[in-house]
């Protein structure tokens, strides 16, 4: 009979989730499960609607990464139409996607993980929070806000609204970029560069040194990585080819057309969670052999090069201890590199002469009854797969979200942290923090598959062999 530790936190937008740790008879952590307890799929809702509406519907489902859904959905639409969208349209879509990377990564690094990173895991819990962080380093917190605002402004200037831009459509985008808006973005860029460079310095000089043990433990396990690389093998967030690599650096799949993703990704279902468990198909689900990671760490590991000068320099540093970085803690660094890369690409793209070209939309009718759209969301690869009838009405919809793809890896991370830090039958604050931080590495977001409203306190329960409650912790 095994014991269970249950962490049952509640999140607002992103869904109900909890973690259970299964202890064996020796009191050792045998298994870890990341549960998603509610599922409100909107796939069903979309059936019978026109695929034309999907970008705006899916973008409205999620308040966290609307742009990613917008991209994947519009691209799925492109393939149903069978069009190659105009060059300017692709540039504009990429710009918006990079804006999204900047604002989302900034939130994750500066505000969500910031207190742990800057103040240290074992620091006084009364201080180790955003307030403590702000008190210690208000400049850091303000930097985060300014960087987020830049990312949001890029999205807003393109799409009209910072949330829910209905601007990206099958066939391209709805509005070209005006010269005034382009100049406004360019004007805001230098400050963003300053901020990200300060953050990189802080990370490299202070954070890593302060978290040697966490760096070694958190999510440090061999796994596969999956993500997009550009057609040339560079860092990529919008299009390109699917690459699969293991943590030794062996490339299992150099570049698969995304529409063939089902050749490498299959989805398993577990009774204890509504979130599906995607795995690398050739390795199978048995024993979680097909476990893989997506997101910043995966992308930065997968690419052959970054493709922009500053990011390229950081990438070399990132890889100073080897081609592949397995430590989950490095997600933080990868995020900063991606922000830097995104800013460089935004600058490069805005300076391209054709970015303000007026031809931004291809017109076509339904030419294919099946479409796949892929994009790199801040937290990893996102697939939209649609089947339509001749009229364009959706017959079936399947979405594979990044958080789902990291599901197995998050379980593994939680297991590792628990094995390293669980001692006896008592729970302690530090464990709770570390479990949280371990999850937070992946920056999970479940709002498109789950929801919850209201705030419940974070609770941890420790159960005895027969399920009796041994200990409990509550936060909030």
């Amino acid at each position: 009979m095994s014991q269970r530790i249950v962490i049952d936190p509640v999140t607002r937008i992103e869904g109900h989730a909890k973690i259970t740790l299964h202890l064996d008879d020796d009191g050792q952590v045998a298994d870890a499960r990341f549960h998603v307890t509610e599922f409100r799929g909107f796939e069903k809702f979309c059936e019978g609607r026109l695929f034309w509406e999907m970008p705006s519907i899916t973008a409205r489902i999620c308040g966290i990464c609307p742009v990613s859904h917008l991209m994947a959905s519009a691209k799925a639409g492109d393939t149903i139409l069978g069009v190659r969208i105009p060059t300017a349209a692709e540039k504009l879509r990429r710009l918006m996607n990079w804006g999204q990377i900047v604002q989302s990564h900034a939130l994750s690094f500066f505000h969500l993980s910031g207190p742990d990173l800057v103040l240290g895991m074992e620091s006084d819990p009364m201080q180790r929070n955003l307030a403590g962080l702000i008190a210690l380093n208000p400049e850091f917190a303000r930097d985060g806000i300014r960087l987020r605002q830049f990312g949001q402004d890029v999205i807003r200037l393109l799409g009209g609204k910072s949330i829910h831009p209905a601007w990206c459509v099958p066939g391209g985008v709805r509005e070209p970029l005006s010269v005034e808006k382009r100049d406004e973005m360019l004007r805001r860029l230098p400050e963003a560069f300053e901020i990200i460079e300060r953050a990189l310095k802080l990370y490299k000089n202070e954070v890593v040194a302060k978290h040697r043990r966490e760096y070694d433990v958190y999510g440090n396990f061999p796994s596969l990585f999956i993500g997009l690389v550009s057609n040339q093998g560079g860092l990529e967030h919008y299009d390109g080819l699917l690459r699969v690599m293991d943590s030794d650096g062996t490339i299992l799949e150099p570049g698969l057309a995304p529409k063939r993703f089902r050749e490498v990704i299959a989805e398993a279902v577990e009774p204890w969670t509504y979130l599906k468990m995607p795995y690398y198909k050739p390795y199978g689900y048995e024993g979680h052999a097909g476990l893989y990671r997506v997101g910043p760490l995966a992308r930065v590991n997968l690419c052959d090069f970054a493709g922009t000068p500053k990011a390229e320099a950081e990438l070399r540093l990132f890889r100073s201890n080897g081609r592949v970085v397995r430590q989950g803690f490095a997600y933080h660094y990868a995020r900063l590199i991606e922000i830097l890369f995104a800013l460089e690409k935004i600058e490069e793209t805005l300076n391209a002469p054709d970015v303000t070209n007026k031809h931004v939309r291809s017109q076509a009718e339904v030419n294919h009854l099946h479409g796949v759209g892929v994009s790199e969301a801040p937290r990893g690869t996102l697939f939209h797969e649609y089947w339509v009838d001749e009229a364009g009405l959706l017959q079936s919809v399947n979405l594979i979200i990044a958080t789902g793809q990291n599901n197995l890896a998050m379980n593994r991370t939680v297991l590792q942290i628990a094995r390293a830090y669980v001692a006896g039958q008592k729970l302690h604050e530090g464990l709770l923090n570390r479990l949280e931080h371990g999850i937070r590495l992946f920056d999970p977001c479940l709002s498109c598959s789950t929801h919850a409203a209201g705030q419940m306190p974070l609770t941890v329960e420790l159960h005895g062999p027969d399920g009796e409650l041994l200990d409990g912790l509550q936060r909030g």
């Binding site: 019978g48 026109l50 034309w52 509406e53 705006s56 459509v169 066939g171 017109q363 364009g392």
Partner: protein
């Protein structure tokens, strides 16, 4: 010879031709009265009830679009009670089908939305009926989304009275009423439809729209019916 009548409109004496409806006169006087089923150039239906006005001596409010003017009529158009009742009508419409403005092709260009805004309908107190409705995207150029139809029958009337095809009609009754094409066959299979698109243009909501339009993208050309009628009757073909 035209007969002229005099009536009192919101306390003002106004004159009108005897063959005019109350709505004609109200619009002539630049009084803003919301309508949904009315459309200049089409026969009147009197179904949406938004243009109801208070006529002295009448036991209940009268729909201005179908009420002929009469001598000595005393009419009030915007009493608090009328405004309140109009709001309830719009609330009923919003709750009747699956109107999700946020993902609608005519978001921002919708007569129902305008009426709601104009009347200050900020919320709907009725339970949404959530009917299980389909879309008909079989037509090469246009789409019918029953979820957004308010059964004003402008499509039915413009098709019958202006285009002369009578492709559209109504089937069912009560809350189960639906617009249909021909004898309820898919629009794309309709032998009578001329694909002229008049129904799409007169549709007040996003129930009829052009294929390929995405959220908030579809605007409608409402004036063309009057233009066609003027052209046919007076041989004036200028805008």
């Amino acid at each position: 010879m035209e007969t002229v009548v005099t009536l009192t409109l919101n306390g003002e004496m106004v004159s009108a031709r005897a063959d005019q409806t109350l709505l004609d006169v109200i619009r002539e006087q630049k009084i803003d009265l919301p309508t949904l089923c009315h459309m200049q150039g089409l026969s009147e239906r009197g179904g949406c009830r938004l243009c109801v006005v208070e006529v002295q001596g009448a036991p209940r409010p009268m729909a201005a679009c179908v009420t002929p003017v009469t001598e000595g009529m005393v009419v009030r158009t915007h009493t608090p009670e009328l405004e309140h009742q109009r709001r309830l009508v719009v609330e009923l419409l919003l709750a009747e089908r699956n109107h999700v403005c946020a993902v609608c092709v005519v978001n921002g260009h919708c007569d129902l939305q305008w009426a709601a805004a104009k009347l200050g309908v900020a919320s709907v107190r009725y339970e949404y009926l959530h009917p299980d409705l389909t879309m008909d995207a079989s037509h090469a150029r246009f789409v019918l989304d029953h979820n957004r139809c308010i059964l004003c029958t402008r499509c039915v009337r413009v098709c019958d009275e202006v285009e002369g095809a009578h492709t559209w009609d109504i089937a069912g009754r009560g809350i189960k009423t639906r617009v249909i094409t021909d004898l309820s066959r898919p629009w794309g299979d309709s032998p009578s439809c001329t694909s002229c698109g008049k129904c799409v243009q007169v549709c007040p909501t996003g129930a009829l729209f052009e294929k390929g339009a995405t959220v908030a993208e579809m605007t409608k050309e409402r004036d063309f019916v009057g233009w066609i009628i003027r052209g046919r009757t007076k041989r004036e073909w200028t805008w």
